[in-house]
Structures are given as structure tokens and as C-alpha cells.
């Protein structure tokens, strides 16, 4: 009860707050008149009777209920649908046809033996399908049975399950709950029906959205008020458009227009608001989210697609063999009857069936063709598909079980949602990554600041840590190791004894420091929340960096604790006396942040009556606004800002200004005028007014906030790029943020030439002002084309001369043009030549389009990784979609193929599991074809000696169980367990991954080699066996070998050879492999025993063949030995030669491991050398580049006086030094300057002027670039 009371009290307090006062820009009125005329018409026919979901009127409209279903089958459709799915596969269909044909006289074997394996295999696959669908059902049930409070009449709200929700219900959603359906916001815990909504699940944007109910309903704050609430809503029909909504509400006989501002979408989340009341408008499959979600595309891997082609190729071989066989058969059959004279009289060609009739030889040949197809069908491994599926399921279990990909903090293992993409993980060429929530954890930490030109903060950023660990030195990390900071504060990772604990008073510019933190404590839109028991204050803010600022101010001793309509109160710790001083600032105006202004200001009046304008903003807009006398610390601050951004930190410049009474008055007048204007350019007016006041600022300093990278991201990216994987970042974020993160992740580095494509040129802006849409589009298109081609030229020019790496940064607006049909090829060309690509401000659709572009135009495997609903398109479009099962939302995970908890697990997922799976599956498929060719081709060879009559060499059941019992278990073991090198070496030699990217293990060459090996084995087996057992006595008792003995011996050899071949081919034997390989051979003998012991009517010519004939005869054993060994020699020699003279990369690593030289750095480096490519990204490359640059400069300095080359060098260095933005390595640049001066001194022959000019020019060029950021 106490709790409840307090809650009520807090609610009361908050209700006094009209949020609309804080937001001057966002709450613009929208005009929707033209849309509203359509209500009631076509496409706008929905009528919702609020609060009476059970009424008759609602009943006849039979709206969808709120349960969702994502299953593929139900009980009734399972059998036909999944059967259809199965037989859509060509190979399965082939076996179905041959299975049916086996019941006719055409069959060379008995029907049951042919159809049984098929049934087993189809059955296994269907069971797998069924289980997967059942799992989906479980998930649906989980979602459908979430609980929500619903009005049940008489003003009482009770919990019910989501699926029971009906259109018209009034629901009450509590803080941090998801909306169960699309709702119309009626009222909230705030007075003016405001609420904050987090739409991460929908668009991935992390900042909270504001929604506001209609004024008429905003007073409905209590449960009981809904007992007789009634309203009728007329609105549009269900559609997929997330950002539009047209409707009207009839309430108390008045019509009120509705807009998207009142619509709360399913799967978004209520934040910072205690509760809201809403009316259900769209339920279940009618909701905009679900309308938006497309069926997950069924993805097939490249390996599988290629495997299909191999299967088709095998079909061709089978058809060819059958065709050749039929021709020979036709000829010999026709020959049998020559003018009424029987040649092979013992076949009675005179009285024959159609299948063997010499008089109708062509027909017999055609029939024989089908018989032969059935017989040679053994070339196609019937168990291939099902084995692969089994293997993949097991592989995914391993992925799910991997303890190294288990995120302990959140108790989240990795989860392969679809098992059929495993091997594709080993072939990824390009990773397209989301930023927020994927690379970063979406928390900001205040880590450093520069106040009055002094840099504070000893925190170590993730990128620094990564670089240092590469360097070998471990940086002393005070923040983590110091025992003082026992409880880390979220959002605050700042340590500096000079400032903390009130020490700041002793600093030289104590006053500036004070102002600095005052500004942080006041200039924001955060809401404080005081825990009344402990007095602790927590904050609710729109963006995480703002939160970091307020917390920083609080931790330093400027605690913001109260906000009213017109005032802000802070406690200030007096460092001398230790007292708390309460200060209240009168809030006059808030000039809020937006992306064009890139700054935010508040105007406050302090207790002494001074009017202060406090402003924080991006360096690009702030420095130009400084007053002449406010630039005292500019140079130092600028330097610090560069340093910070190099470390991937997000910087803001803080500045303030005192206004006198008159200035303020004038501003206030103008401002309120602008605010109240109703004209279209209201916002422009407001902006102009604000612009005027935010001038002549006095610089205080800069803050550096770390957009916290997830654990190990830089290292992971480094490894991935060492593996030759390209990484693109596609983010909805601002360009600055994206670039920051680029640096933080080492995707960008100094010395990398940034190609920035954007539409910020003055001409375009002028055109936009003019508003001629056609002209804008045309100009933009031309502009982008120009930029792209210029960049391409730049790259071409630099090629060959230096190892210059390029980075492409493009914003969403430009991307829209670059992705147009006639330009996308150009764009892609450019992008693929850049070491890293960052697309910022891109919409979900653009993300998907970029993914599609990369996927389809390069034909390479793409992997998309993201965590938000805005990544769904991208995840589905990419060959592999990886969802980050982060803290927020499951949308991305639900549409992903594999879910992992942290970005850094990608490293293990790709380099270890991906590599293994790729290798396993491709070896497995190759081996499958090998074993079936070995088997099938002996059948064919036998046919040659049986006048192509279609008599199989082996007993019927030998034929049919071959694929199931004697040869598939070892392959499955190969597919599940084989490792070329262990996980440790996979990670240590990332270049190993290239084997997958370049598809070396499943190239046609390799496939054909294996097939050839199969043919060779078959030939050796067949001829050795037949020659060895041909005509002479088979045993001591003088009996000769018949069809039964030869067949059984050959079959024994085949079983031995294919299993031993496996043993020779793999280089990883666990107990399991041993059991499966030797077990398969043993099973064959057991089978032979058991089958031979059955009555002769079942076993046919295999009756007692082992006990009576084979086993007692030494020649059987000798033949087995010599044939098996001989059949393996070709492969063994081949692989010995390859291993010895042309080792593949994994074989080299095996050497390394085998020789135990892993600790010999020189040796390992040599093996690794292939992994360092000049233009790759990542911290290793970053270090390497840094070394190179320094080396160049040192060479230059110590170098000779060869004037010409010096000049060239200096050009290079200058160019590099004047890179846009922060990337100046101070030391390097200093050296360069020296070099430059020296060179100038040396070069008497050339005019000094031209160089000076060049330098000035370069330095000048730097300016606008820097300002851009």
C-alpha cells in the first residue's frame, strides 16, 4: 500500500508537468484535412466501437483475433504439404518415380528393396519438418499468452492473454510493457496524454518517440472513468504503412480527427510513462507490424545450390550410361534372332517378353533404358539430402551449445534458428552490420572531457585497449582495476582525481569547471526521478548520451533533482564546506536538438538574476559561434576533440553566453511570435530566431562520450578483416556517430582516405529551398554521379603508387540516388574498391536494398547482422541474417537465421563454426558422390559383362541398404565432427577462412577430382575382383565363384574401400569416427551373416554365402586385402604429394601444429603472412599502417637529398596530414612539417613559393572538412 501511495503521489507531481512546454519543435500541428475526407470510403472502412468488443455491431464485422501464427503446417495440411515439399526436390522425385517403376517388370531388383529406403528417408525429413514447425508453434503460444490488462466493465481492469484481445477493448499498458495490438492512445499518466514509446522493434531507432492522445480523452486517468466510456472510431483498413494513419473518433457526438500521433503500434514499448489507456484498433494479423512482416524467405546455401547442379550433372551421367547401355542392349538383343535362327538360344529369344524381344528390339531398348536408369540410380545418393539435413541439425546443436558463444550475463546461448545455412557461414564475403545495439551496446559512457583546455579523464576506451593489446603493452587501466570504484555506474566511466570528489576547486580554471558542469546539469530535457527512500536520483532521457551528461554532472557534484514547468533545481556540493547548496534556475526557453541544428540550448535565469544561454553542440557548428573573446581555449580544445574522436568518442562542445535583459526580451518576442505562427515555415522561423541568439558564445570545453562498443568488437572486427571479410556498416544513425564508431571499431583509421558522399552542397540546399522537386532530383542525381565517378578516379589514380586505403561514407539521402538502377553498378564498383563502407542515415529499406545489391551484383555471400526491427529487411535479404538477441526486442531475432548474444561471437561463429561447417558439408558432399560413384560404377562395369541386360552385380538388398547402413554413418560423422584444425588455430590463422570464401573446398575441380577418384576406385575394384576370381576354382574344394560370390566379394571391397577412403581423407579421429568407420565395416559382415541366415526365399543368392563360401576361403580375404589397398593408393599418393608439395592453407596450419612450432613467432608469422592484405581494416592493419607511415617519414627525414623523390614524398605526406577530420597523428604531422621545411630549405632549384602555396592550400582544404563534422 505504501508503494501504491507513493506512486500516486509521484503521478500527481508529474501530472503538473505539461511536457508540451519543453518541446517546442516536435509538437507542431499537422494538417491532415485532405486525408480525412476519405474516411468511410474504399480502404477506409474500419469501424471500431470502443469499449464494446462484444456488441452486435462489432460482432458482424468479424475482425481478426489477436493471436498470431507463424507455423507452416497444421495437422491437416502437414502430410500433403510436406510430402509435396519433399518431392519438389529433383532427386527425391527421381527416386519416387524409380520406386514406382520398381513395381513393374522393368525393375532390375525387387520393389520393396527400392521403395523402403525412400520411405525411411522421406519419413526422417518429414519428422524433422514436423519438429521444427512444432517449435514455431511453441513460440507463437508464448507470444499469444502474454498478459495484458483489459477493461472488463464497471471500470475494472483485469489481466488477460494477448490472444483474447478484441477490437474495441480498452487496455491499460503499464510502463515497460509491449503493446499487444495497434492501439489508439486515449490518455496517459501525464496530464496532456503524452507518452514515450520505444520503437526499437519497429525501426531500430533508439530515441524515444512521443505520442499524444486527443485532448478530449486526456482527462481519463482513472480506471473507473472507463466504465461508461464510449466512442466510435472510423479509420483506414489494415495496411502495412507504419508511418501513416488516417481516422476519426466520434466521442460525445463530436468528430475528432486522428493521426499517427495517437497510434501506438504493436511490439513497441511504453517507456518513461507509468501507464496509458488505449483502445484496440487493429489486432493480430491486421496490425501494422505483422502486415509489414513478410514470410521469411527460404534460403538455400551456395553449396547446396551447387550440389543441385552436381546432382543434375550426375543425372546426365546416369542418363548417358543408360543410353549407351540401351544401345548396346538393343544391338545384342536384335542379334539374338537372325532370320529365325536363335543365337543365344538359352535365352529363348523366339518366345520373349517385350523387354527382351529381338523382333521389337527398339522397344526393348527403350524399356531397358528405364531399367538402366533404375539400376544406375545408385549414382545419385538417395540419402544425401537427409544426411545433410541430419548433419546440419547436429551442427546447429553444436553452435547452440558452444560455451564460447554463450553470454553469461544475459543467460543467452547462440541459437541457430534455421539449421540449413551452416556452411554458408564459412563463405561470407561481406558482412553488413547494423550499428546500434550490434556494434555498440547503446549505452553512452561519459569518459573524458576537456575543460578550459585541460584534458581530464583517464578512462580507456575499447579501441585503445584493442590497439594496446596488439602493441603488446597492457595499459594500466585504473578504472577497472582500482579497488575504489567498486560499483560501476551505468553511463559513467570517468576517473580523474583532479576533478572528482570536489577536488576541482583546486584546478586553475575552477570557475570554468564549475560552469561546465552547471551546463551539463541544466542543459537537457531529462526528467529526474527521486527515490524517496535513499534520495538517489535517476533520470529518464530521450537519448542515452544526454543521460550520460546528467549522470556525469551528478557524480561530480552537481545533482539535478527537480524539474518543474518553469524551473530546474540542482544540488551543488560545496567542496570547501561540504554542504549541499540548492540552486534553482528559472527555465525560460528550450531550443531543442535536431539534426540540422546539431546543438541544443537552454535559456535560464539563475538565482542572481543573470540570464544565461547554455549551449552544447557538435564541433562543426559550435566553433563558428564562439565570441571573439570566447576562444581562449579553442586551440587546445580542438586538439583534444581530435584526439577523442580518433579514439572513437562522441564529442560535444559546451559553451555559454550571458544575455542582458534587452537581448532576451527581443529574442523572447521573436521566438514566441515564431512559435505561434501557423504558416508552413514555422520551423524555419523558429530556427532563424534561435540562430540569432546562439552566437558569441564563450567556450567552456568539450565532452567525450563513449558510445560503448560491445565487448571485444574491435578485436572481432580485426579478426574478421584478417580473414578477408569485408565489413560494411549500415546504420540509421547520423554520419558523425557512424564515423566515430568507424574509428572505434578500426574500420576507419588515420591515413585512410575517406570518400564522403552526401548532398550537403550549397546548390542543392538552394534548390531545396526553391522547392522544385524535379529539379532537386535531377540535381541530386547528377551530383551523386559526379561524386561517385570522381571518387572512382581517385582510387584508380592512387592504385599502384601507394598502399592507400579508402573508406566510403555515404548518407541515406545520397544512397537513395546511388541505389537507382543506372547508378548502382557504379556505386558498387566504388564500394567494393574501398576497404570499408559506412552507410549512415539509411532506412530499413535502404539497408535491405544495399544488401540485395551486394548480394546480387557481386554474387558473393553476404551476412547481415542486426538487432532491431529495422534490420529485419536486411536480415531477410542477406544470404545469412544474424540477429543479436540483445536486451531489447526480439523482432530481429525472430526473422534471423542465427541469433547470437554479442557481436563478438561472430568471430567464433564464422571463423570456427562457419569454417568447420563449410568444410564438413563440402567434404561430405564430395565424399557422398565418391562413394556412390564407386558403388554405381561397379554396377555399370558389370553390365558391360552381362551384355547390358540390367542384371545387378549384387543382391537386391545389398543394393538398397548400401546407402543407409554401410556408408552413411561415417559420412555423418565426418559432417558433424571433422575438424581440419582446432578452434584455436582457426582463430589464430583467420586467413583459413578464405578457403570458404573462395570456395576452394567445393570447387568443380575438387568435385570432379572426387568423382574421378570414385571411378578409379570402381575400376580397380571391379577388375581386380573379376580377374582374381575369374574362372578358376575359388577354394580348395575346387568350386568356382558364381555371381553370388563375385557380387559379395566386390561388395565387401566397396564397403571397405569407401570406409577406408574416409579414414584416409579425414585428419581428425575421435572415438566416434573410429566407431562409425570400423563399425560400418563390421555391420556389413554382420549383415551378411544375418541376411545369409534367413531363408533362401528372402536372401536369394546371398544365402549362407558368408559362412559357407566366403569366410572359409583364403582367396576371399586376400582379394579383399589387395583390392582395398590398391584402390586407396591413388588417393593416398595424391594427398601425400599435395600435402608435401602444394599444401593448402589448412594443411600448412596442420604442419605448424604438427611440428609444434606454434610458439616460434617468426615461423607463425610466415604462415600468417598471407593474412595481411594492404587495404584491410581492423586494428592490426591500423597498427601496421601507422608503422608504415612513421617509417616513411623517418626515411624521408634521414633520407638523401634527392630532391625529386622528396617532393613526391612530401606531397604524399601533406596529403595524408591534411586528411579531413581528426585523424592527425600529432607526432607524424609534426615530423612531416619538419620534413617539409627541410625539403624547402634544400630545394633551391625550385621556387619556394609553389610549395608554400601547396601547403597553404592543403591546410586550407582541411578547414571545411573539419567543419563538416
Amino acid at each position: 500500500m505504501v508503494n501504491l501511495g507513493r506512486r500516486r503521489m509521484r503521478g500527481e507531481r508529474r501530472r503538473k508537468l505539461h511536457l508540451s512546454k519543453i518541446y517546442s519543435f516536435a509538437c507542431g500541428k499537422q494538417s491532415l484535412k485532405e486525408d480525412h475526407s476519405q474516411i468511410g470510403g474504399r480502404g477506409y472502412s474500419r469501424v471500431v466501437f470502443c469499449n464494446e468488443p462484444e456488441s452486435f455491431e462489432a460482432g458482424i464485422r468479424s475482425y481478426a483475433d489477436n493471436s498470431v501464427s507463424s507455423t507452416k503446417y497444421n495437422l491437416a495440411t502437414f502430410l500433403p504439404k510436406s510430402l509435396f515439399e519433399q518431392f519438389r526436390r529433383v532427386a527425391n522425385f527421381f527416386f519416387l518415380v524409380t520406386g514406382i517403376l520398381a513395381f513393374t517388370k522393368l525393375a532390375p531388383y525387387t520393389a520393396v528393396s527400392a521403395i523402403l529406403p525412400l520411405i525411411i528417408i522421406i519419413g526422417a525429413t518429414m519428422i524433422k519438418e514436423g519438429i521444427e514447425d512444432w517449435r514455431r508453434k511453441q513460440q507463437d503460444i508464448e507470444v499469444n499468452s502474454r498478459r495484458v490488462k483489459v477493461h472488463t466493465g464497471q471500470g475494472t481492469f483485469e489481466y488477460t492473454e494477448w490472444k483474447n484481445l478484441k477490437v474495441g477493448h480498452i487496455v491499460k499498458i503499464m510502463k515497460d510493457e509491449f503493446f499487444p495490438a495497434d492501439l489508439l492512445l486515449l490518455s496517459s499518466s501525464y496530464e496532456d496524454a503524452f507518452c514515450y514509446v520505444e520503437t526499437m522493434n519497429l525501426d531500430g531507432e533508439t530515441n524515444l518517440k512521443l505520442k499524444q492522445g486527443l485532448e478530449v480523452t486526456s482527462s481519463l486517468h482513472e480506471d473507473f472513468q472507463f466504465s461508461d466510456f464510449q466512442a466510435t472510431i472510423k479509420c483506414e483498413d489494415p495496411n502495412a504503412n507504419l508511418y501513416s494513419f488516417v481516422g476519426s473518433m466520434e466521442y460525445k457526438e463530436q468528430q475528432y480527427p486522428l493521426s499517427p500521433l495517437q497510434l501506438l503500434l504493436r511490439d513497441s514499448k511504453l517507456r518513461n510513462t507509468d501507464y496509458i489507456f488505449g483502445a484496440v484498433i487493429f489486432t493480430g494479423h491486421d496490425t501494422k507490424v505483422i502486415q509489414n512482416s513478410t514470410d521469411a524467405p527460404s534460403k538455400r546455401t551456395k553449396v547446396e545450390k551447387k550440389m543441385d547442379r552436381v546432382v543434375y550433372f550426375m543425372f546426365c551421367i546416369v542418363f548417358l550410361m543408360a543410353f549407351v547401355g540401351s544401345i548396346f542392349f538393343g544391338i545384342t538383343t536384335k542379334d539374338d534372332l537372325d532370320n529365325g535362327l536363335m543365337k543365344r538360344w538359352y535365352l529363348r529369344p523366339d518366345d520373349s517378353t517385350i523387354f527382351f524381344d529381338p523382333k521389337r528390339a527398339p522397344a526393348a531398348a527403350i524399356f531397358h533404358f528405364f531399367t538402366a536408369l533404375m539400376l544406375y540410380g545408385f549414382f545419385i545418393p538417395i540419402s544425401l539430402y537427409v544426411s545433410i539435413e541430419i548433419v546440419k541439425v547436429l551442427q546447429s546443436i553444436f553452435i547452440n551449445q558452444d560455451i564460447h558463444m554463450y553470454y553469461e550475463d544475459a543467460d543467452k546461448p547462440s541459437y541457430a534458428r534455421t539449421s540449413n545455412l551452416n556452411e554458408e557461414l564459412g563463405q561470407v564475403d561481406t558482412i553488413l552490420s547494423d550499428k546500434t545495439g550490434t556494434l555498440t551496446c547503446n549505452t553512452m559512457e561519459f569518459i573524458k572531457c576537456s575543460i578550459a583546455g585541460v584534458a581530464y579523464g583517464r578512462g580507456v576506451t575499447e579501441v585503445e585497449r584493442s590497439l594496446d593489446s596488439k602493441n603488446g603493452s597492457t595499459l594500466i587501466d585504473d578504472t577497472r582495476d582500482s579497488p575504489v570504484r567498486n560499483v560501476p555506474i551505468k553511463g559513467f566511466n570517468f576517473t580523474d582525481e583532479r576533478i572528482m570528489n570536489g577536488k576541482w576547486v583546486n584546478e586553475p580554471y575552477a570557475n570554468v569547471i564549475k560552469n561546465f558542469f552547471h551546463l551539463l546539469a541544466i542543459c537537457h530535457t531529462a526528467l529526474p526521478e527521486v527515490d524517496e527512500d535513499t534520495g538517489n536520483v535517476s533520470y529518464e532521457t530521450e537519448s542515452p548520451d544526454e543521460l550520460a551528461f546528467v549522470i556525469a554532472a551528478r557524480e561530480i557534484g552537481f545533482k539535478f533533482y527537480k524539474r518543474t514547468q518553469t524551473s530546474l533545481s540542482i544540488y551543488e556540493l560545496n567542496p570547501v564546506s561540504g554542504d549541499k547548496i540548492e540552486r534553482t534556475y528559472k527555465l525560460l526557453n528550450v531550443l531543442e536538438f535536431n539534426s540540422t541544428r546539431k546543438r541544443m540550448s537552454v535559456i535560464v535565469k539563475d538565482e542572481e538574476g543573470r540570464i544565461l544561454l547554455l549551449c552544447k553542440g557538435a564541433d562543426s557548428v559550435m566553433f563558428e559561434r564562439l565570441a571573439k573573446d570566447g576562444r581562449e581555449f579553442e586551440e587546445k580544445t580542438l586538439e583534444h576533440v581530435h584526439e577523442y574522436s580518433d579514439a572513437g568518442l562522441r564529442t560535444l562542445i559546451l559553451a555559454y553566453r550571458e544575455l542582458d535583459e534587452n537581448q532576451y526580451k527581443e529574442f523572447d518576442n521573436n521566438f514566441s511570435q515564431a512559435k505561434n505562427s501557423v504558416s508552413e515555415d514555422r520551423e524555419t522561423l523558429i530556427e532563424e530566431v534561435s540562430e540569432k541568439i546562439e552566437r558569441n558564445l564563450i567556450l567552456l570545453g568539450a565532452t567525450a562520450v563513449e558510445d560503448k562498443l560491445q565487448n571485444g568488437v574491435p578485436d572481432c572486427i580485426d579478426k574478421l578483416s584478417q580473414a578477408g571479410i569485408k565489413i560494411w556498416v549500415l546504420t540509421g544513425d547520423k554520419m558523425e556517430t557512424a564515423i566515430n564508431i568507424g574509428f572505434a571499431c578500426s574500420l576507419l583509421r588515420q591515413g585512410m582516405k575517406q570518400i564522403i558522399i552526401q548532398l550537403e552542397s550549397p546548390e542543392i540546399q538552394a534548390l531545396e529551398k526553391a522547392g522544385d522537386k524535379v529539379a532537386i532530383v535531377k540535381a541530386c542525381r547528377e551530383n551523386i554521379r559526379h561524386q561517385i565517378s570522381e571518387a572512382a578516379q581517385q582510387i584508380t589514380a592512387s592504385r599502384g603508387t601507394s598502399q592507400q586505403a579508402f573508406a566510403l561514407i555515404i548518407d541515406g539521402k545520397s544512397l537513395a540516388y546511388a541505389l537507382e538502377d543506372n547508378m548502382k553498378k557504379m556505386f558498387l564498383d566504388l564500394a567494393t574498391r574501398c576497404a570499408s563502407v559506412i552507410c549512415c542515415r539509411s532506412s530499413p529499406k535502404q539497408k535491405a536494398l544495399v544488401t540485395r545489391l551486394v548480394k546480387s551484383a557481386t554474387g558473393k555471400t553476404t551476412l547481415a547482422i542486426g538487432d532491431g526491427a529495422n534490420d529485419v529487411g536486411m536480415l531477410q535479404e542477406a544470404d545469412i541474417g544474424i540477429g543479436i538477441s540483445g536486451v531489447e526486442g526480439m523482432q530481429a531475432v525472430m526473422s534471423s537465421d542465427i541469433a547470437i548474444a554479442q557481436f563478438c561471437y561472430l568471430e567464433r561463429l564464422l571463423l570456427v563454426h562457419g569454417h568447420w561447417c563449410y568444410r564438413r558439408i563440402s567434404s561430405m558432399i564430395c565424399y557422398f558422390f565418391y562413394k556412390n560413384i564407386t558403388f554405381g560404377f561397379t554396377l555399370f562395369l558389370y553390365e558391360v559383362y552381362a551384355s547390358f541386360s540390367g542384371q545387378p552385380a549384387y543382391n537386391d538388398w545389398f543394393l538398397s541398404v548400401y546407402n543407409i547402413f554401410f556408408s552413411s554413418l561415417p559420412v555423418i560423422a565426418l559432417g558433424v565432427f571433422d575438424q581440419d584444425v582446432s578452434a584455436r588455430y582457426c582463430l589464430r590463422f583467420p586467413m583459413l577462412y578464405q578457403e570458404g570464401v573462395q570456395n576452394l573446398l567445393f570447387s568443380w575441380r575438387r568435385i570432379f577430382s572426387w568423382m574421378l577418384n570414385g571411378f578409379i576406385s570402381a575400376i580397380i575394384i571391379f577388375f581386380f575382383c573379376t580377374k582374381a576370381m575369374e574362372i578358376q576354382a575359388f577354394d580348395e574344394k575346387g568350386r568356382t565363384a558364381g555371381r553370388d560370390i563375385l557380387g559379395a566379394t566386390m561388395y565387401t571391397c566397396v564397403v571397405w574401400v569407401v570406409n577406408l577412403q574416409m579414414a584416409v581423407a579425414i585428419n581428425y579421429f575421435t572415438l566416434i569416427q573410429h566407431i562409425f568407420i570400423w563399425g560400418s565395416v563390421a555391420i556389413w559382415y554382420l549383415f551378411l551373416l544375418a541376411y545369409g541366415a534367413m531363408s533362401p526365399t528372402i536372401s536369394g543368392n546371398a544365402y549362407k554365402v558368408f559362412v559357407e563360401t566366403l569366410a572359409p576361403s583364403p582367396s576371399f580375404w586376400f582379394v579383399t586385402l589387395v583390392v582395398v589397398i590398391s584402390a586407396l593408393i591413388p588417393y593416398f599418393s595424391y594427398s601425400a604429394i599435395q600435402m608435401r608439395f602444394f599444401p593448402m592453407y589448412h594443411e600448412m596450419v596442420q604442419w605448424v601444429r604438427y611440428e609444434g612450432k606454434t610458439n616460434d613467432p617468426e615461423f607463425v608469422a610466415m604462415v600468417r603472412q598471407g593474412s595481411l592484405r594492404p587495404t584491410t581494416v581492423g586494428s592490426t592493419a591500423r597498427l601496421a599502417a601507422k608503422d608504415n607511415d612513421l617509417k616513411d617519414i623517418m626515411e624521408l627525414l634521414t633520407g638523401s637529398s634527392q630532391a625529386e623523390s622528396d617532393v613526391a614524398y612530401i606531397h604524399l605526406v601533406m596529403e595524408w596530414c591534411t586528411q579531413p577530420n581528426h585523424h592527425l597523428d600529432v607526432k607524424a604531422c609534426h615530423l612531416a612539417k619538419q620534413a617539409f621545411d627541410e625539403a624547402i630549405a634544400e630545394l633551391d632549384t625550385l621556387s619556394e613559393e609553389s610549395y608554400k602555396e601547396h601547403f597553404d592550400h592543403a591546410a586550407f582544404e582541411r578547414q571545411p572538412d573539419t567543419l563538416d563534422l
Binding site: 538360344w345 575346387g1038 585428419n1067 601425400a1136 596442420q1150 610466415m1166
Partner: protein, 348 residues
């Protein structure tokens, strides 16, 4: 936290060491982490050379032994299908063989070159005879052979299922085309006894051919194929039929006819009185009579021995080549120039 457990190159022991903390989790943990103790052989030059050498060392003696076994067998092969046709029929052998009225007697003289120890096996050998033709192989009824007339479904035997509307036992092409040349042997004045018992596999006699099934209506059709059967002897005792019905694998085959249970000395001349009944002339097949002793490995066939020797020699040769290459040119460790992507770079 080394996942690989610091695997040193412990191939010789075959099992890598497992770090202490993993063992606590037990084998199942290792299994799910794909970190089971494993043997990871690498094809090192030493291993390759040793393997090939070992194979050579095994195969050459095996080859010598088998070759010796084969050489210990004495074999006399006599093709008689041409010589046993009288001069006047040489141009039209088919007419000759089909004409029942012509006596088919023929005598052959075989000289024994090496002493032959009993038992001496008598085979007939047919060439170009497709006992493995699908139509032929299928044309039998195993159940009828076992149960006789009691079993009616003999459709597989067509067209020799019945004649004169009565079922045929044994039915089918195989039985119908039973080989029917007969041989009698004499050495000097005395006849050599031929034992025709125990020439078939026991399982066939006991379980595939009925003891109470007697030939019925056999070779009564318009077209006579091969030999006739004594209707008073049950199928289970008609061993020549049983042998014949175990179809041969290849178009050239020998089948056991009987045994001579006397030793033959060198320079003995054996007279064979044979009846040349069986028609191989239609399809141009050969007929041969073979007398052969046997070794523990069976009959005379050098192939196995030669193959063993060849494979063994080949293995040793390869191992020597490898050895030379290895000595001459130790592997440039870690030379990445061979890697495909580097090769491509060089090419481009």
C-alpha cells in the same frame, strides 16, 4: 581458457592432453564443445614413406606366397568344341549339333605334363555364354525348386513355365539349358573313376533344392534345350543341375563336373570320351575341358600374386621417390606462394 587444450603434437600417443578444467565437465562437455580427445594424423613425409614401405613389405611376400600357390596348381585345358565336330559339318556346326540322329561321341587325348595329385577337378568351361543375362538369371523359381509341384506361382519361369499345359519341374531357362556334355576318362586300359558327388555347395543341396522334388514334365516341350534329368532322382541330389543353376558371374566360366580321385603322373595320357551334346555353336561360344588340381587358394590364377607383387613394388617405388624428393628438397615450410589466392595475385 584455451579451447584447444594446448594441443602439442602428440600424434604419436594419438591423444591430446586435456586441460584440467575441462575434464571436470566430463566427456559430454567435451563432446558438445567439439573438443573430444582426438588423433590428428598428418601426412608427414616420414609417415608417407613409412606407410608405403610397410605396404610394400607386406605385399611382396603375400604376392610371392599366392603366386607360389598358383604355380603349384597343375592345369590341363582342352578346347574341344571345334575338333569334335566332324569334318563334313565344320561349315555348319549348328545343324550338326541340333541333329539328334548324329552321334556326338568324340575322343580327346590329354597328356599330363606334370604329376597331378588327387583330387583332380574336372571342369567344363564355356565362353561367351551369358548366364548373367537378366532374363536368364530371373528365369527360375526358387520356391518350386524347394517345394516342387506344390508351388504354383512360377510366372518368373516364362516361357518355360509349362509344356502341354502341365507345369515343368524344374522350370525356367536355367534348368532348361542344362549343360549336357558328358565326359569319361581312361588312362591306358583302365577307366578313371569320376566322382560326381559333392560338387555343389551344401547349402544349395540342403536348402534350395528339395529332397522330395522330382523332375516332372522336364524337356518335354517342342524345343529341347539342354540336358535331361532322371525323373527318379530328387532335385536335391542332382548335383550337376545344382551346380549349373548357381549362375556364373561372367560370360566366361567354369563349372565343376566331377573329381578324379587318383593321382596322375607326368607323361600319362588321358583319353577323354566325351559326348559333345551342348550347343555353343549358335552363339559362337567355346567349350573347354579342364583338369586341374587345387591349392589352398583355389585354382591356377597368377593374377592375385602378380597384382600383389606389382602393388608392393609400386609402393616401394613411391616410397623411394618420396624419400629422394624429401632429402633433395626439404619442404619450404609455410611457403604461402602455393595458396590459390596468392597464385591468383601473381597471375593478375
Amino acid at each position: 581458457m584455451d579451447p584447444d587444450g594446448g594441443s602439442s603434437s602428440t600424434v604419436s600417443t594419438g591423444v591430446q592432453e586435456i586441460p584440467g578444467h575441462s575434464t571436470q565437465h566430463g566427456a559430454f562437455y567435451q563432446f558438445t564443445q567439439q573438443n573430444l580427445p582426438a588423433c590428428k594424423p598428418v601426412l608427414t613425409p616420414a609417415a608417407v614413406i613409412a606407410t608405403f614401405l610397410l605396404m610394400g613389405i607386406i605385399f611382396i611376400p603375400v604376392g610371392l606366397v599366392t603366386l607360389r600357390a598358383s604355380n603349384s596348381v597343375v592345369e590341363i585345358v582342352d578346347r574341344y568344341d571345334m575338333d569334335c565336330v566332324p569334318e563334313e559339318f565344320r561349315s555348319n556346326k549348328v545343324t550338326y549339333i541340333k541333329d539328334v540322329s548324329i552321334p556326338k561321341n568324340c575322343s580327346r587325348f590329354l597328356k599330363v605334363l606334370k604329376p597331378m595329385k588327387a583330387p583332380i577337378y574336372i571342369y567344363y568351361q564355356l565362353d561367351n555364354y551369358y548366364q548373367n543375362h537378366r532374363r536368364y538369371v530371373k528365369s527360375r523359381s526358387d520356391l518350386q525348386l524347394l517345394h516342387g509341384l506344390g508351388y504354383n506361382d512360377t510366372s518368373s519361369c516364362k516361357p518355360l513355365e509349362s509344356s502341354h499345359d502341365l507345369p515343368v519341374v524344374p522350370c525356367g531357362l536355367i534348368a532348361w539349358s542344362l549343360f549336357n556334355d558328358t565326359y569319361k576318362f581312361s588312362r591306358g586300359p583302365s577307366e578313371l573313376k569320376v566322382n560326381r558327388k559333392n560338387i555343389a555347395w551344401k547349402s544349395d543341396r540342403d536348402h534350395k533344392f528339395g529332397k522330395n522334388v522330382y523332375p516332372f514334365n522336364f524337356q518335354n516341350g517342342t524345343l529341347i534345350g539342354g540336358g535331361k534329368l532322371d525323373p527318379s532322382i530328387p532335385l536335391g541330389d542332382q548335383e550337376d543341375l545344382i551346380v549349373w543353376m548357381r549362375t556364373a558371374a561372367l560370360p566366361s566360366f567354369r563349372k565343376l563336373y566331377g573329381r578324379i580321385e587318383e593321382d596322375l603322373d607326368a607323361d600319362d595320357v588321358i583319353v577323354v570320351h566325351l559326348k559333345n551334346n551342348y550347343n555353343t555353336y549358335s552363339f559362337g561360344g567355346k567349350k573347354k575341358l579342364v583338369l586341374s588340381t587345387s591349392s589352398w587358394l583355389g585354382g591356377k590364377n597368377d593374377f592375385l600374386g602378380v597384382a600383389n607383387l606389382f602393388v608392393g613394388a609400386f609402393c616401394i617405388l613411391i616410397s623411394i621417390i618420396f624419400l629422394l624428393l624429401h632429402v633433395k628438397n626439404p619442404r619450404p615450410y609455410g611457403d604461402t606462394a602455393y595458396l590459390s589466392w596468392n597464385r591468383k595475385n601473381i597471375a593478375s
